[in-house]
């Protein structure tokens, strides 16, 4: 399992190929399911030009690793890779990569979906929109739930 957070531009498929070469025994996995999330154009607010994603170094990785471990415990998964971009990014930038290897594709799909649902809904990240005038606007979320209560929903979402 490998989880890392980076301020650098993310080349998701290069990461998948490198990890597969390094970490996966040849000829054992039947397939890999991956999700690559990309920053979309801003729908509300033409004035927004970029996003800054804040995180808690150490805690963010630890909690993502824990959810990857849950996925590996719940499904028959050989390995998984998560890379998350942080810092300032603009539309079309890849933000997140989740890749899950297994012998059977059903396990890969379920585990990959479980991990990305956690990342998108409950992982310790904070979005801040940056306007053309240089102003910051922290995205608010009406959730008191730091992630635990949503586990069951994530499994079926």
């Amino acid at each position: 399992m490998k989880v890392f957070v980076t301020k650098d531009a993310l080349d998701p498929y290069k990461e998948i190929m490198a990890f597969e070469r390094e970490a996966l025994p040849a000829g054992k996995h039947g397939g890999v399911v991956s999700f690559v999330g990309t920053m979309r154009d801003f729908n509300d607010g033409q004035n927004v030009k970029a996003m800054n994603l804040d995180y808690y170094p150490g805690m963010t990785e630890r909690h993502i690793e824990r959810v990857c471990q849950e996925a590996m415990d719940n499904w028959d998964v050989m390995d998984c890779l998560v890379v998350h971009r942080v810092g300032e990014m603009v539309p079309t930038d890849p933000i997140v990569l989740v890749a899950v290897w297994s012998a059977h594709r059903k396990d890969s799909f379920d585990a990959c979906r479980y991990i990305i649902n956690y990342l998108k809904e409950s992982a310790p990240f904070w979005k801040c929109e940056l306007t053309r005038e240089g102003q910051k606007h922290w995205v608010e979320k009406n959730s008191e739930d730091p992630g635990v209560a949503k586990r069951v929903e994530r499994k079926t979402a």
């Binding site: 999330g37 808690y56 805690m59 997140v96 990342l119 730091p146």
Partner: protein, 77 residues
């Protein structure tokens, strides 16, 4: 006891800093007590707290050397 306090996202902006060292001359200290040492305002309703990178609540009893983080609800990545 010495506690390292960290702030993230909008709370960092509001507190005007990303972290601080707090020294408190007490044997017992909860997260709520700690907040009263660092701010005159009541602890905001929505603020989440982590001690040593694990989610907890304001009744958590701290010990020397703990890292306490306050932050708004996470938005996900």
């Amino acid at each position: 006891m010495d506690i390292k306090v960290r702030y993230f996202a909008s709370l960092r902006d509001r507190m005007g800093r990303s972290e601080q060292q707090v020294s408190v001359d007490k044997e017992q200290l909860t997260v709520a007590d700690l907040w009263r040492e660092i701010s005159n305002d009541p602890i905001p309703d929505t603020i989440l707290v982590a001690v040593n990178m694990e989610y907890t609540d304001s009744s958590h009893e701290l010990k020397a050397g703990d890292e306490v983080a306050f932050f708004p609800p996470v938005t996900g990545g």
